[in-house]
């Protein structure tokens, strides 16, 4: 394995991290939005969201991706590999995030909400100041879990031509007939990426605990 090969895997790492981040940054609030629609039991929309979540959770990411990539151009929506990859990631992760958020919302004590109403807080205020901080804390472990899974499913995106860490490693193995060294480098790269995510979770949790102790 040459220096250029290591650079190729690092470029793959940039792709993996970028796509994962975009997926997380869009999928996280989208999941919350979907969960709120269901929580609020909005007439038709709640049913639509329930259906969306059920379908997306039952669809393997690779299937969804191939479907988007090959079928969308046939209905006049041209889509490139990267856009298809991002769309598939966001659709997939938002469905799972929705359920994590919804679990926290369902467990949220109703009396607190009613108390906030009683002191005259408006809906937006009630959500921002009472509901969100508490459900965010309850959801954090589940959400980080889903994020780390998301990072690890990114090799699937290679099927439409996205070159992530794993694909870069496969390419090198195909060229050198030595698949082991590039894969070791690949594994060594995934670990710090997921570790960074988990450390972030710990830091947030510690800060919350400190804030609580101070309160």
């Amino acid at each position: 394995m040459s220096g250029a090969d290591i650079v190729a895997i690092l470029q793959g790492a940039v792709v993996t991290v970028t796509l994962s981040l975009v997926g997380i940054l869009i999928g996280l609030p989208l999941g919350l939005g979907l969960a709120l629609v269901r929580w609020a039991d909005t007439p038709v929309f709640a049913r639509v969201v329930a259906l969306y979540v059920s379908i997306l959770r039952a669809t393997p990411l690779v299937t969804l991706l191939l479907l988007l990539f090959f079928a969308l151009p046939n209905i006049g929506v041209p889509i490139g590999p990267i856009s298809a990859a991002v769309l598939a990631l966001v659709m997939n992760t938002s469905a799972f995030n929705c359920e994590v958020w919804r679990a926290a919302l369902n467990a949220f004590p109703k009396d607190q909400y009613e108390a906030a109403q009683a002191v005259g807080m408006r809906a937006g205020q009630r959500f921002r100041r009472i509901v969100l901080p508490q459900i965010a804390r309850a959801s954090l472990p589940g959400l980080v879990n889903e994020m780390s899974l998301l990072i690890k499913v990114t090799p699937v995106l290679a099927v439409v031509g996205v070159v992530d860490i794993t694909r870069a490693a496969v390419r090198i193995g195909a060229e050198t007939y030595e698949p082991l060294p590039p894969f070791l480098v690949a594994v060594a790269l995934y670990m710090p990426i997921v570790f960074a995510l988990v450390s972030l979770q710990r830091r947030i949790e510690r800060r919350q605990a400190a804030a609580e102790a101070a309160a």
Partner: protein, 282 residues
């Protein structure tokens, strides 16, 4: 990683590709190949693989190999733009049959089954199947010695599909076909052969030669275990104009000696007696 021309499609991926193709008409669109007129306007979209040495692979970030050199030649030959997409084998044939790519410039073995949904150009190489064994294994000298031995081959591959031919060869000489182990890709099959978990691996002569050049101390190529077999480029079924254009290009490259030169460079030998058209029996 010498993947065979056949290459594996996991069941999940096949289902996915099928779902994608099946869903296409449901969504109101129609999967169809671009006509030559459209191609002239928007350019020809070719799909190549990225891990299929010596045909197509990536070295230092640049696509190279036999087919990629031909793509470069095609750029000079064609009076229109050539747009290249590089992706793994899994999505390639599905992409061609849905019209996402116009042609798969890779070594797809011509099989009866594939001919139902794709059309193939003139063969670009010889893909007769051979066996490879450990160099240190002195028990195997000819095909006859493969009787009862464990065979490694890629799952879902054209190679796997033609193992009955080897079985017939063995039985004719009073032998039996041993256990068959299927792998998702060839590097794993070679690794297991080197470790002694299998006794021989079946792949095409070109792939095996490339392997042995890289690892002469470990492996040794044996004899042919199939009848004639050829790889070619694939276009959507019925896209005759494009097929004629590509066959014209291949014929010209053969005539000028460029084809033989590239074959010599990448495969170690020139296949000068390739048929212009091949009807597969399997």
């Amino acid at each position: 990683m010498t993947r065979p021309f056949s290459r594996s499609l996991s069941r999940r991926t096949v289902l996915a590709a099928l779902a994608a193709t099946a869903a296409t008409p449901m969504l109101g669109g129609k999967a169809r190949a671009a006509s030559m007129e459209e191609i002239k306007k928007r350019g020809l979209i070719v799909a190549t693989e990225d891990d299929f040495r010596p045909f197509e692979f990536v070295k230092d970030g640049k696509p190279t190999g036999f087919d990629n050199e031909l793509v470069d030649d095609l750029r000079k030959y064609a009076p229109f733009e050539i747009k290249q997409e590089i992706l793994p084998w899994t999505g390639i044939l599905a992409g061609v049959s849905t019209g996402k790519y116009d042609v798969a410039i890779t070594a797809a073995i011509i099989t009866k089954e594939r001919k139902q949904s794709l059309d193939f150009t003139s063969p670009i190489a010889d893909a007769t199947h051979y066996y490879v064994k450990r160099k240190s294994d002195t028990n195997i000298k000819t095909v006859k010695d493969l009787s009862g031995k464990t065979c490694g081959v890629q799952a879902g591959s054209a190679l796997l599909g033609r193992l009955p031919e080897l079985k017939a060869m063995l039985e004719k000489q009073g032998g039996t076909m041993g256990k068959i182990v299927e792998y998702t890709s060839y590097p794993e099959a070679y690794q297991d052969l080197a470790l002694g978990r299998t006794d021989y691996v079946v792949n095409t002569i070109i792939n095996l030669k490339a392997l042995v050049i890289e690892k002469p101390a470990v492996f040794e190529v044996g004899q042919a275990v199939s009848g004639p077999s050829f790889p070619a480029w694939a276009v959507a079924k019925g896209n005759k104009e494009l097929l004629d254009f590509l066959n014209g290009f291949i014929a010209k490259q053969k005539e000028t000696g460029r084809f033989a030169e590239l074959q010599k460079k990448w495969f170690g030998e020139a296949f000068t007696a390739l048929p212009v058209q091949f009807e597969p029996e399997f």
